[in-house]
């Protein structure tokens, strides 16, 4: 591969599953050392803001409320506490599917169940469908607190940041299977960067990285490619997109370590306000500046790798995580800690 000036080439990936697959496959170690694979904001739990956890904590102080959540959320700290530190056996229930929240609410008619709706566009249609079903068929004691996020605005935010030195992108496979590969063409069209949708097999990722490197090296013209047609159609899952459009509206979102990103979140549309926990319980997001030993913000933006954080594997480990990237098993720091120790 030609690269005379030996400049660093940075390829950003934005999918928790890709993060794990890349680290685990050891692809990093067979690439020339001037090629860096960076993990972007692919884990929705990692990017959930402190202020959102604080809102959940406010709800927890209401004795009528049971919080229903995906398990990963428990360890994520708000400004002071995580749900894990404040929960009792009764007031926080871990669920696998938002549909389980319906059963939970039916079983506890004297309580109000609030589902913590977190995820990207892979999860958003599922929550949209559940919300629509609840609106139509009840129960009337189930509510939703949305921290759902959109992928395109955060990618634009990263690529518009002058400090970013990203040369190519691996698009998130599962989000693309819902939105369609066309949803990521803007990376090439608006930012003139090579981008590829690829699968999760080591071979798929290698193929994707090589395609990007050829373009970065000028061997082939900059283009957008979908190498994962087995799962990702050009226009995605129309039904899923229709549900999202019906139930949500687009609003500004707060991202841990990053701050406010315009148009990056999904809130419940007015038609569904009766199911919106923010509206029902009058909780508000209070933004507090983040404390700073943790460098997740830079890692999520692709400006640093976990190894460049002084806390990594020293004071920050999966048992004692300082930041969100170490909390979730899909977070960049946690995946590197688990599979990437060979680098030391």
């Amino acid at each position: 591969m030609m690269n005379d000036d030996k400049k660093i080439i940075r390829i950003l990936e934005v999918c928790g599953t890709h993060t794990q697959a890349i680290v685990k496959s050891g692809i990093r170690y067979i690439l020339p050392n001037y090629v860096k694979l960076l993990s972007g904001p692919g884990c929705p739990v990692c990017v959930t803001s402190e202020s959102y956890i604080d809102m959940a904590m406010d709800l927890l102080s209401n004795e009528e409320v049971i919080l229903a959540t995906f398990g990963d959320m428990l360890k994520v700290k708000g400004t002071f506490y995580s749900l894990f530190e404040k929960k009792t056996k009764e007031n926080v229930v871990i669920l696998y599917s938002p549909e389980d929240a319906i059963v939970l609410a039916q079983k506890n008619p004297e309580k109000k169940v609030v589902f913590l709706a977190v995820g990207f566009e892979t999860t958003a249609p599922i929550i949209a469908t559940t919300i629509k079903n609840v609106q139509e068929n009840g129960p009337d004691n189930l509510f939703f607190l949305s921290a759902l996020k959109r992928m395109e605005p955060i990618l634009r935010f990263i690529l518009e940041d002058d400090r970013n030195k990203i040369n190519g992108l691996i698009c998130p496979g599962h989000v693309a299977s819902v939105l369609g590969s066309d949803a990521f063409r803007f990376i090439t069209e608006d930012f003139h960067l090579p981008a590829v949708v690829c699968g999760f097999e080591a071979e798929d990722i290698k193929k994707g990285v090589h395609l990007l490197l050829d373009q970065i090296d000028g061997k082939s013209p900059v283009s957008f490619a979908n190498l994962y047609e087995r799962c990702v159609r050009t226009t995605g899952n129309k039904l899923a997109k229709d549900y999202m459009e019906e139930v949500f509206y687009i609003e500004d979102g707060y991202w841990r370590g990053i701050g406010k990103v315009p148009n990056s979140a999904l809130g419940l549309d007015k038609k569904y306000q009766n199911l919106d926990a923010k509206y029902k319980f009058g909780v508000k997001e209070k933004i507090i500046p983040k404390p700073s030993a943790c460098q997740c913000g830079e890692i999520i933006l692709g400006l640093k790798t976990p190894y460049e954080c002084k806390q990594f594997a020293v004071s920050c480990t999966p048992e004692n995580p300082l930041g969100p990237c170490m909390i979730s098993s899909e977070g960049a720091c946690s995946a590197h800690y688990k599979y990437g120790k060979v680098v030391f």
């Binding site: 999918c15 928790g16 599953t17 794990q20 697959a21 685990k24 692919g42 884990c43 929705p44 739990v45 995906f70 990963d72 696998y96 599917s97 938002p98 549909e99 389980d100 977190v118 995820g119 990207f120 892979t122 999860t123 249609p125 599922i126 469908t129 079903n133 599962h174 299977s177 819902v178 699968g199 999760f200 097999e201 087995r230 799962c231 899952n237 039904l239 899923a240 549900y243 979730s328 899909e330 599979y339």
Partner: protein, 73 residues
């Protein structure tokens, strides 16, 4: 939490299907997929089928997931 798991549909009843995921039989929501029939394969995420996949991809993903789970043990 972003994981989508390869799943085989065994029977369909309205908005729901019985399906087999990594050896486990379970009821899943299929509202987001049109015209799904038994014997077809889907990606399952948080209790919902989110996209149809072909058999080759189903086997591929199953293999990767099995490897990841073994590593976690």
């Amino acid at each position: 939490m972003c994981l989508a798991v390869p799943t085989k549909i065994t029977s369909v009843q309205g908005n729901y299907a019985y399906a087999e995921t990594m050896g486990i039989r379970q009821k899943i929501n299929i509202q987001l997929i049109e015209n799904l029939v038994p014997g077809e394969f889907v990606l399952l995420h948080a209790g919902f089928a989110i996209e149809k996949i072909d058999q080759r991809e189903y086997l591929f993903l199953k293999k990767i997931l099995n490897e990841m789970m073994e590593d976690d043990e």
